[in-house]
Structure formats: structure tokens, C-alpha cells
């Protein structure tokens, strides 16, 4: 069986990225191991150990070019689900986070887009609640 347990996002500066993804976004640090000049850093959503996000150095010029081009086109490179997008938007805005899109309903989801200060645009989305959806 092939499983999805690890995914990654390229970041400009790993130390700054760890601070933003934990202090501002609220993820929990899972691993932080030195690897040569770089670090192996993963974070998880609080209380959820099943999927790790690696904060990958964007030192490869090809990766950086891709990241910058997507950013300039306003295209997010990751999407995180939230329960209350209006509250998260307000909370992040208070931290000084720059949004390129305020919470906007689009079909079955409400989405917002912000800059992660590490070279990426990130989409937040809140699915429309359907009937007795409980978790």
C-alpha cells in the first residue's frame, strides 16, 4: 500500500519559516534536524500526527524560479482547511499577515489567500457545511 504521510513546501529561509508556520499559523514542530548546511524541518497540525509538512529549502534555482513565477501569478502552492475562515482571517491579519484575497465564497467553499513570508501564497478554505457534519 502506498500512503500519503509527508508533503513539502519550499521556503526561502528555514528558520523564519519554522517561526511563521508555528508561531503564526499554529502548527506544531515535529522534527528539526541539521542536514549539512540545511535542516530537516517538519510540522504537523496540532493534535494530528498523521501528516507532516516539510519546510524545504528553496536553494535550488529551478525550485526558486517556479516558486517566484507562481507567486507573481497569484497562485497558491498549498491549501489548508479551516473550520472558521472568517475567524482565522481576522487572527492572521492581526499578526500582520498580508492577504491577496479576503474570505470569498466560491461554489462549495469559502477561500482566502495569504503570503507566508517565505515566498509562497497559501490558500485557506472552509468547506460549506453539509447537514449533520460532525467531527
Amino acid at each position: 500500500m502506498i500512503k500519503i504521510k509527508l508533503t513539502s513546501i519550499m521556503v526561502e529561509d528555514q528558520a523564519k519559516a519554522l517561526a511563521f508556520y508555528t508561531d503564526v499559523l499554529g502548527f506544531a514542530k515535529k522534527h528539526d534536524l541539521p542536514v549539512g548546511e540545511y535542516r530537516w524541518i517538519t510540522v504537523t497540525a496540532p493534535g494530528r500526527d498523521d501528516l507532516e509538512l516539510t519546510l524545504e529549502p528553496n536553494a535550488n534555482p529551478a525550485g526558486k524560479a517556479f516558486q517566484q513565477a507562481m507567486f507573481a501569478q497569484g497562485i497558491p502552492l498549498a491549501a489548508f482547511e479551516v473550520d472558521d475562515i472568517v475567524a482565522e482571517h481576522a487572527r492572521l491579519a492581526k499578526h500582520g499577515v498580508a492577504f491577496t484575497q479576503k474570505p470569498t465564497q466560491m461554489g462549495p467553499v469559502t477561500i482566502a489567500v495569504f503570503a507566508d513570508t517565505c515566498g509562497n501564497l497559501i490558500q485557506l478554505y472552509q468547506p460549506m457545511s453539509i447537514g449533520t457534519d460532525e467531527e
Binding site: K5, L6, S8, M10, E12, D13, K16, F20, K30, H31, L33, V35, G36, E37, Y38, W40, D49, E52, T54, E56, P57, A59, N60, P61, G63, Q68, F71, A72, G74, A93, G96, V97, A98, F99, T100, K102, A115, T117, C118, G119
Partner: protein
């Protein structure tokens, strides 16, 4: 802070100018049509550092690449846009933690493997405990698990 599509494009253009050209920050702001005050504030919110910090880091990153490929300190200094080798060396040492000459010696040795890592290629340097599966396997073997 809300940054509309037009401002996003301008700020990205400014980032390119900062990375590849040598104009003063105020001139870059003028070229992209944003007042210097808003330019610095919006740039910082979007990219996590001021235009000046961004340019310095971009130059030093480029310097690291050139040094690791074996370019001389003087050539690197001129190539990335600094005019004085002395101030370049000081700035480099402060940000990178080693003077350019030392970085160059060390860089040439490891350049082939680690200069441009892909993140998943870093895995082979990790201890086994960094992997969830290895812990699961251990738990399955030992029969006593402690959730992280």
C-alpha cells in the same frame, strides 16, 4: 493588510529588480509606482523582509553559489554587486557564519552533493527515528507504544 492583484504584480516586479539590478530601494519603488513608505511596508508583509534585506540576502545567496563552484572571492564580490571586498567579506561572514574564503574551500568539497538539495533527497542523512514508519515498526516489534 490586503494586497490587490495589481500591487502584487508591482511588488513581484520590484523583487526582480532588487535581485538583478543595482538601483537604490527608493528608485525601485518609483519604478513600480508605489510610495517608498507603502513599498517597504507591503514588501515586508509579503516577503517577510524589507527590500534592502531581500537584496542583501539575494546577493549573498548568489555569492554562496559562486564560491561553492570555486570562483575567487574577488570575482564573486564584483559579480554579485559589491564594490569592496572588505565590506563584502564582513557582511558575508556576519550572515553566513564563515568568511567567504573559508566557505569557498569547504563549498568546493561538498558542492557536488548538497549545494542544491531537493528536500526529499535530504532523507538519507536522517536518523531512523525521523520516520513515522520506523517508529510504527518499532512499536509493532516491542509491543508498547507511546503516542508522540
Amino acid at each position: 493588510m490586503l494586497i490587490d492583484r495589481a500591487s502584487l504584480r508591482r511588488l513581484c516586479r520590484a523583487r526582480e529588480l532588487l535581485e538583478h539590478d543595482g538601483q537604490p530601494v527608493a528608485e525601485v519603488a518609483r519604478l513600480v509606482g508605489i510610495s517608498p513608505f507603502h513599498f517597504i511596508r507591503q514588501f515586508d508583509a509579503l516577503f517577510g523582509e524589507t527590500p534592502h534585506q531581500y537584496r542583501t540576502r539575494a546577493r549573498l545567496d548568489r555569492a554562496k553559489q559562486l564560491l561553492a563552484r570555486g570562483h575567487s572571492v574577488t570575482d564573486t564580490c564584483m559579480e554579485v554587486g559589491f564594490s569592496s571586498v572588505g565590506s563584502f567579506s564582513q557582511l558575508f561572514a556576519r550572515h553566513v557564519g564563515a568568511p567567504p574564503s573559508a566557505y569557498r574551500r569547504r563549498g568546493v568539497q561538498v558542492a557536488t552533493s548538497l549545494v542544491h538539495p531537493g528536500c526529499f533527497s535530504l532523507m538519507c542523512w536522517l536518523p531512523a527515528a525521523a520516520f513515522r514508519n520506523s517508529r510504527e515498526a518499532h512499536v509493532a516489534r516491542v509491543g508498547q507504544g507511546r503516542p508522540a
